[in-house]
Symmetry: C2
């Protein structure tokens, strides 16, 4: 009753083997049979612990998310302005993810499916999503923004990050330098937009946009 450690051990062995093969061969070329053989278990045994091949990828996400969180903590400078922080956050993500660019495609292909457990909007990845949004919340610490926006901004910025990811996945330029350009030049734009959102002419526009965002639950799609 107290220590069913056996199961956890097998579970860990399987997920570690899977992640290693994903790295070495990519997602599609890594077969469940290969994972099982390499881990010294049967195919059926892998399915005893993981409902599908996709579920094995969740481990990958978790690793990357944790690496990103650490990278951000190291790079968030207390007295840095919004633009610098946003740039740092996104570039940190890029650095963490770069090694996996060529086969990340195969993940996102599944992740875009609303029914997939890997979808960033699914209930299953709710924790990961919350953690990611929390990073954006920390990004805003000490930054002066329209209080009307403050509450929703972390989610909005997270959505923007999802957009950058989407571009990154499609980015075929060498070393994904186009994505770097996108980040370095769009972050200042967002910064300026944020500043401007408080001037009279734009204030009502901002308000309407935020209200729409809330009404259609853009970040609560699952």
């Amino acid at each position: 009753m107290e220590k069913p450690a056996k199961g956890e051990q097998t579970r860990a062995l399987i997920v570690e083997t899977a992640l290693r093969l994903f790295r070495e061969l990519g997602y599609d070329r890594t077969t469940m049979r290969a994972i099982a053989k390499e881990a010294g278990v049967s195919v059926g045994n892998a399915y005893y612990y993981f409902p599908s091949k996709e579920h094995l990828v969740q481990g990958f996400y978790d690793q990357m998310a944790e690496a990103h969180r650490r990278a951000c903590a190291a790079v968030f400078d207390a007295d840095a302005d919004f633009t610098s922080r946003l740039t740092a956050l996104l570039l940190a993500w890029l650095d963490v993810s770069a090694p996996y660019h060529e086969f990340a495609v195969q993940f996102f292909k599944n992740a875009i499916d609303p029914n997939s457990p890997l979808s960033p909007f699914s209930t299953e990845s709710g924790n990961a999503r919350e953690a990611a949004i929390a990073i954006h919340r920390r990004l805003l610490d000490g930054v002066k923004v329209d209080p009307q926006l403050r509450e929703d901004l972390p989610e909005l910025l997270w959505l923007f990050q999802m957009g950058v990811v989407l571009y990154w996945v499609h980015d075929k330029s060498e070393g994904q330098r186009n994505t770097r350009t996108l980040i370095k030049r769009s972050a200042p734009l967002i910064g300026k937009l944020l500043t401007m959102s408080r001037v009279p002419g734009l204030r009502s526009l901002t308000r309407e946009a935020v209200q729409l965002f809330r009404d259609i639950g853009l970040s609560r799609l699952g």
Copy 2:
């Protein structure tokens, strides 16, 4: 030499059967074996004409695009303003696509893959993409916009439409009324933003954004 009509006949038979089964069963539940059997040919024969199951979906896209083009032509009012037209365009798309919402997911899951021939950014769907952008170009006929923006605006609006599609795919609200809300309320926002993009304070911001859009080739990802 002059009339290899036989092949075209078989080809048409296969694609028609496939689309019918897609409608009746959805994409995943429609097997290549079922398509072949229903069309009275062998599986291999289907692969003689179509390299993969995905390629059969292209026919679906073409049908929907054509229906959307016609719907827009009927609804574009010569003296209507930008906002009305954009709203009309997007709602027309929604009406055309609504019947296929529940299994459109299965298409887009594949379409998001940059390597897929179904990707809206792929060379294979270049014609379809150009046609879609052309609709947005017609949308702008007679509309006064910043000349700096004019050239890129059709592509930018098309990208926005892709975003709406992405939301629609995930939209689980009854009859996708959330997507209707998104369209009806975001179109005016874009209209206002377009107007404002010419005032001094925003002009430089707009210019920078457009330049970034051009530099990273957002609509030329294939």
